[in-house]
C-alpha cells in the first residue's frame, strides 16, 4: 500500500470526523453545549432513509432527503424543548441532556432495528477507480470532497459573510448580539439545523461503507470529540484540521502497527497533547476574573 492511498483512506475517515466535528463546534459555540448525541443525528438520517427506501420503496435520493429533514427536525426540537429548558442549577445539565438524547435515539433505533445490522446503499463505496496505477475507492474520494468543501465553505461563511458574523456574535455574547438586533433564536435554530445536516451527510457516507446498527456512529463521534478536545472547542479551523489529521494518523497506525494499536495510539496522542500544550492553548472560556 502506498503512502498516498493510506493518506487518502485516512483523509476520508478524517473527513467524516470533520463533518461531525463541524456540527459539534457550531452547536457548542452558539448553544454553549457539548452535544454528546451528535453522532445519532447521522444515525437517524441513515437509518430512516434505509427504512424509507428499503421498506417503503421510495427512491433513494428522496429517502435520503426526507431522512435528513427528519434529523434536522429532531435536532431543532431537541434544542428548543429540552436543551434550552434545562435549568442551570445543576452543573453539566446540558451535557446530561445530550446524553439523554444519545440514550433515547439509540434505544429507539435498537427497538426498530432489533439489534440486527443492516446494509445500506453502496453509494460508490464498492467502486474502485484506477488513477495512474493507483487504486482509489470512489467513496473515499466523494467523502473527502464533500468534507473539504463543507469545511471550507463553512469557514468562509463564518469569516466573510454577514451570516457568519452574526454567528460569531451570538457565539461570543448572546445578549449583546441581541441588543444589536441579531435574531439569536433564529441563529440558534439555523446552527442546529446545519449541524444536523452535516451529521446526516456523515451518517449516510459511513453507512454506505459499513453496516448500520444503532451504535455504528458512536466511534466516529468519539473521534470527532477527541479532535475537538485537541484543537479546542472554541476554535474552528484548527480542530477541523485535527479531525482530518486524526483520520490520517489512524490510517498509518493501522498500517504500521495493526488495527489493535489504534485505540492506544489515539490515547497516547491525547495525553501527549494535553500534557505538553501550553496552558494558554488549553484554557477556554475562562471565568470572569471580577
Amino acid at each position: 500500500m502506498s503512502e498516498l492511498s493510506l493518506l487518502i483512506g485516512g483523509a476520508a475517515t478524517g473527513g467524516v470526523y470533520a463533518l461531525l466535528l463541524a456540527g459539534i463546534l457550531l452547536i457548542y459555540q452558539v448553544s454553549k453545549a457539548v452535544n454528546f448525541g451528535h453522532g445519532q443525528f447521522g444515525m437517524i438520517a441513515a437509518f430512516f432513509s434505509w427504512y424509507l427506501y428499503q421498506q417503503l420503496g421510495l427512491h433513494p435520493v428522496i429517502a435520503i432527503l426526507l431522512a435528513v429533514l427528519t434529523a434536522v427536525v429532531v435536532a431543532i426540537l431537541f434544542d428548543a424543548f429540552v436543551l434550552q429548558r434545562t435549568s442551570d442549577r445543576q452543573v453539566g445539565s446540558d451535557l446530561v441532556a445530550t446524553l439523554g438524547l444519545l440514550l433515547l435515539a439509540t434505544a429507539v433505533a435498537e427497538n426498530v432495528l432489533g439489534g440486527r445490522t443492516q446494509s445500506y446503499l453502496t453509494l460508490g463505496s464498492r467502486t474502485v477507480l484506477d488513477l495512474g496505477g493507483l487504486a482509489l475507492n470512489l467513496s473515499d474520494l466523494i467523502t473527502i470532497l464533500i468534507a473539504l468543501a463543507s469545511v471550507l465553505v463553512l469557514s468562509m461563511v463564518r469569516r466573510r459573510t454577514r451570516v457568519g458574523a452574526m454567528l460569531t456574535a451570538v457565539a461570543e455574547n448572546r445578549n449583546v448580539a441581541e441588543s444589536l438586533g441579531i435574531p439569536s433564536a433564529r441563529v440558534r435554530v439555523a446552527t442546529w439545523a446545519l449541524a444536523a445536516i452535516l451529521a446526516s451527510v456523515a451518517g449516510v457516507l459511513v453507512a454506505s461503507r459499513t453496516s448500520v446498527d444503532a451504535y455504528y456512529m458512536t466511534p466516529f463521534a468519539m473521534k470527532a470529540f477527541i479532535a475537538g478536545i485537541l484543537g479546542g472547542l472554541n476554535r474552528f479551523g484548527l480542530p477541523l484540521a485535527f479531525a482530518f489529521g486524526l483520520g490520517v494518523y489512524e490510517s498509518f497506525v493501522v498500517y504500521l502497527l495493526g488495527a489493535q494499536a489504534v485505540t492506544p495510539a489515539v490515547f497516547t496522542l491525547i495525553i501527549v497533547v494535553l500534557a505538553f500544550a501550553p496552558r494558554s492553548y488549553l484554557s477556554e472560556g475562562q471565568e470572569a476574573r471580577a
Partner: protein, 331 residues
C-alpha cells in the same frame, strides 16, 4: 461547645439498618437478587455522586472503576485464595489509583473537555479488556469463583446480599461524613467556581482528585460485589452506556443527597423489571433517555428534591445545612 445530638437523632439510622438486615429473610430468591443489585448500584451511584453531584465534575468513567473492581475480583478469585476482604481492599486501591489517573487531566483541562476525556477512557478500558484476552477472557469474560471468609462464601446469595448491604452502608456513611465536614464545603466550592474555591484557599486540584479517588474506590468496591453476585464478568457490562445508566439513576434520584442515590438505584433495578413483566423490555432504555431529558427540564433536583419539599412542609425551618443540628435550631 460540644455537639449535642438528641437521642432521637442518634436512633434515626437504626430502623433502616434493622430493615436492611432482616429483609433477605423475607424475600424469595429473585427478589433477593434484585435487592442485592440495588445495593450494589447504591454504592456505585454514591461514588458518581461524589465526583459529579458534589464536586461538579461530569465523569462518564464510573463504569471503568466498577469494571476494574469486578475484573480484579474475578482474577483474584480464580488465581489466588485470598479472602473477599482482601479482594475488596485491593480492588478499591486499584480503582482508586485508576480514578486519580482519569482525574489527572483535571489539572489542565476544563470540565467540558474532561467529560469528553472520561468518555474516551471508557473506550480505552474496553480496548484493554478485549485485547488482553489471556488475562481478561476477552469478549467472553471470566467466570468468578465464590469469595468469602473461610466457610462463608458468596455461593450463598444471602452472603452476597449482606456483603452488598455492608458496602452500601459504608458508602452512605462515607458520603454523610463528607457532607458534615469541611471537605464537603470544599467540593461545593470547587463545583461552584474555581475562582471562589481558590480565593478561600481550597486547592481545586486536590479536591477534584480526592473526589475522583473516592468515586473510584466506591466503584471498585461495588465491582467486587457485582462480580461475585453475578458470577461472571464481561466487557459488555462496563460500557459508556453502563455509566449513563448510573448517571440517569443519580439524576433521577437527586444529586447531592444520599437518599437520592438509594432512590435512583431502586429505579434502575426495579423499573426495567416492570417493563419486562409488561412484556416490553425494550421500552426501558427508550423511557430512560426520555425520562432523563424530562427530569432536566422539569425536575432538576430529582425525586429527592420532591421528597425534600414535602418534608419542608412539615418542618418550615428547613434548608439543609452541613452544620450540626444544634446550630440549625439556634439560628
Amino acid at each position: 461547645m460540644p455537639e449535642r445530638r438528641s437521642l432521637a437523632h442518634r436512633l434515626r439510622p437504626v430502623l433502616p439498618l434493622a430493615l436492611l438486615v432482616v429483609l433477605p429473610l423475607l424475600l424469595d430468591s429473585f427478589s433477593l437478587y434484585q435487592a442485592t443489585m440495588i445495593l450494589i448500584y447504591v454504592t456505585a451511584i454514591i461514588g458518581l455522586d461524589i465526583v459529579f453531584g458534589r464536586a461538579g465534575v461530569l465523569s462518564v468513567a464510573q463504569a471503568v472503576f466498577i469494571g476494574i473492581g469486578a475484573y480484579a475480583a474475578a482474577w483474584m478469585s480464580r488465581t489466588t485464595a485470598v479472602s473477599i476482604g482482601v479482594e475488596l481492599v485491593v480492588a478499591a486501591a486499584i480503582a482508586g489509583v485508576a480514578a486519580i489517573v482519569v482525574g489527572l487531566p483535571a489539572l489542565r483541562v476544563s470540565g467540558l473537555r474532561l467529560a469528553i476525556l472520561t468518555f474516551a477512557f471508557v473506550e480505552l478500558f474496553q480496548w484493554v479488556l478485549t485485547t488482553f484476552a489471556s488475562v481478561t477472557g476477552g469478549t467472553q469474560g471470566l467466570r468468578v469463583n465464590p469469595g468469602g471468609f473461610g466457610a462463608i462464601t458468596t455461593a450463598d446469595p444471602m452472603v452476597g446480599y449482606w456483603l452488598a448491604a455492608a458496602i452500601a452502608v459504608l458508602a452512605t456513611w462515607l458520603v454523610i461524613r463528607l457532607r458534615r465536614n469541611p471537605i464537603g464545603r470544599a467540593m461545593a466550592a470547587v463545583k461552584s467556581s474555581n475562582l471562589l474555591a481558590e480565593s478561600v484557599g481550597v486547592s481545586t486540584v486536590r479536591t477534584k482528585l480526592t473526589a475522583f479517588m473516592l468515586s473510584g474506590m466506591l466503584g471498585g468496591l461495588a465491582g467486587v460485589v457485582l462480580a461475585h453476585v453475578a458470577g461472571s464478568v464481561t466487557p459488555a457490562g462496563f460500557t459508556v452506556f453502563s455509566s449513563l445508566d448510573l448517571l440517569v439513576a443519580l439524576i433521577l434520584g437527586g444529586t447531592g443527597r444520599v437518599h437520592g442515590a438509594w432512590l435512583g438505584a431502586a429505579y434502575v433495578v426495579l423499573v426495567p423489571e416492570v417493563f419486562a413483566r409488561l412484556g416490553i423490555p425494550n421500552a426501558y432504555p427508550v423511557v430512560s433517555g426520555a425520562v432523563l431529558m424530562l427530569l432536566l427540564v422539569a425536575l432538576p433536583g430529582g425525586i429527592a428534591s420532591v421528597l425534600d419539599r414535602v418534608r419542608d412542609r412539615f418542618r418550615p425551618r428547613g434548608g439543609h445545612t452541613l452544620t450540626p443540628a444544634t446550630e440549625r435550631s439556634s439560628s
